[in-house]
Amino acid sequence: MLRIIGEPKKSFVTGNETAAWACLAAGADMMFGYPITPQNEIMHYWTRLAPKYRRGFLQTEDELSAGFTVCGSVQSGKKAFTATAGPGNVLMQEPFGMAEAMRLPLLAIIQQRGGPSSGTVVYSQQEVTLTTFGGNGEGMRIVYSTATHQEIYDYIIKGFNTAWKYRFPVFILGDGYQAKMREPLEMYDPEDKGIEMIKPFPLIGLEGHIGAGREPQHLCNIYSLEEELYEVVMKVAAEYESIKDIIVEYDEKNCDDADIIVVSHGVVSRAADDAVKILRAQGIKAGYFRPITLRPYPHKQLRAAIAKSGAKKLLIAESAYGQLDKLTKQEIFGETVKIENLFMPGVGIIDYDIINKVKSVL
């Protein structure tokens, strides 16, 4: 593959710019998109970079088209992606559902903005439910929730491989703050880190004749009978369940003896990390648990953290009104640890907010 970055080097960048460079380094062929804040600069940078590296871009008439054109492009064997936010993410749920149904290796970068509806253009963590379980299906998707520019870069590269290896749609879940923040990033070509990028392959127009050398390729998003659909959904669900343990990722700190474990994801986990360090310095036994994959959720690991610490409480902190909370509760059903909440929908959470909340509930 053409080397994009060359010698790994540190750059000072925004999160959106990070995403565009990561897609380039990961060997993406094509972006389809429709403008929406706060992801616009992913498109801006991609369109500045793509011609220099012979990659493609199409601005479609809306997000429905952007999603469906990605679905078409990956079927032809192109490594394609899109990026969106908020109402655009809502519209794309229909094509994302098609990707679930047809097992298409689609990659979408979501930079969450405030909701409901157009909400704000700025920031939130209110697209957790939508990104993990949106659409009229069973949430057969993989969702990485990033916290830093380095993670945006690393998980986009990883995400393309996850999508093309397992053929489930993959989401990189960022937010408006990560999109706009500036921080140092080490960019690299995947090969230099020993990462072999999976070569995309066509899903239609295959070589050979059906019945003489190969099976027919059924990429269906509609069936005639209930039983047909049932069989397919159960087969896909079984395949999803079988890879969950391989896909799942999390981060955990100071949970061994924690009285309270702060559960957060994405950019809020940076505040939680700082808060836990400060609380520890003050003699308060706080722990930190962060699901990196929100789907599949690291429920076994969180249950283990609760068990080994004997924590009396979990504090679920999020810039939403209970979406991570709902997701976490369904995943650790049966645990008796008391759950406290810090819900700040659409606004940022800083270490101070978490410290105050922890002190008020201990």
Binding site: K9, K10, S11, F12, V13, T14, E17, W21, T37, P38, E41, H44, R48, S118, G119, T120, V121, V122, Y123, G176, Y177, K180, M181, R182, E183, P184, M187, G348
Partner: protein, 235 residues
């Protein structure tokens, strides 16, 4: 260690009036806002009256907004959107702050922070009288660790795309991860680019926390040790 190379320096003294009007332009994350804030405070500390104008008309939500009150307490007038100015149009309405449009009618010095990188100084056409102002200087802020300006060719291409640029600020840094080598090497590349395009250097900007680690420029390029205010904003 790398050492500086030097060419001619832009003169801030070739002015017709005593008024200072500077527009800071550049890539996303190049340091426009930081330079504009530091410049405004520098002038204020010289006893001058200063108005700092946030001219990001596309996304005025991510800029100086959070720092507005702090900056006002330091004695500069700030024209920027704040909670009390927001009226619910989101991205569906044109967000030109009327006070920004008429900013040049203010007395005293005017420092304009021109947002939304790639368009350069084009947004200035929204400020009444900007292009007619004999005082206006358009200053491009360049950070040599930005992927679009991390080589001689790319920096030249970028400066050409910007259109009118009266002077360049050398602002290579990596946030908290800056090293003297990165700063000096990056700034040397920008100097060569500016030199080849015939654009003067305004000054060299270095984080004040690196005062002891990074030497000042050795000849007549002014070195400004700047305080970083933007980490106080969430983005």
């Amino acid at each position: 260690m790398e050492s500086y190379i030097h060419w001619e320096v832009f003169s801030f003294s070739q002015k017709i009036t005593n008024r200072i009007v500077e527009a800071y332009i550049g890539e996303y994350a190049s340091g426009k806002s930081e330079m504009a804030i530091n410049r405004a405070l520098e002038l204020k500390n010289q006893g001058r009256q200063v108005t700092l104008v946030d001219l990001d008309t596309v996304e005025p939500f991510y800029t100086l907004r959070i720092l507005k009150k702090d900056l006002e307490q330091m004695g500069i007038d700030v024209i920027s959107f704040a909670r009390e100015d927001a009226f619910g149009l989101g991205e569906t309405g044109a967000m030109l702050n009327p006070r920004a449009r008429w900013a040049l009618m203010h007395e005293g010095d005017i420092i304009l922070d021109i947002g939304y990188g790639v368009q350069g100084a084009k947004t200035l056409n929204l400020v009444e009288g900007a292009y007619e102002s004999p005082d206006l200087l358009i200053v491009a802020v360049i950070n040599g660790t930005r992927p679009m300006t991390d080589s001689l060719e790319k920096t030249k291409e970028y400066l050409i795309d910007l259109g009118r640029v009266d002077a360049v600020v050398l602002n290579t840094h990596l946030g908290d991860k800056s090293t003297p080598e990165i700063i000096i090497e990056g700034n040397n590349v920008i100097q060569v680019a500016a030199r080849e395009l015939g654009i003067p250097i305004a000054y060299l900007a270095i984080d004040e926390n690196l005062r002891d680690a990074v030497p000042a420029a050795e000849n007549d390029i002014p070195t400004k040790y700047i305080k970083r205010y933007m980490p106080g904003a969430i983005w």
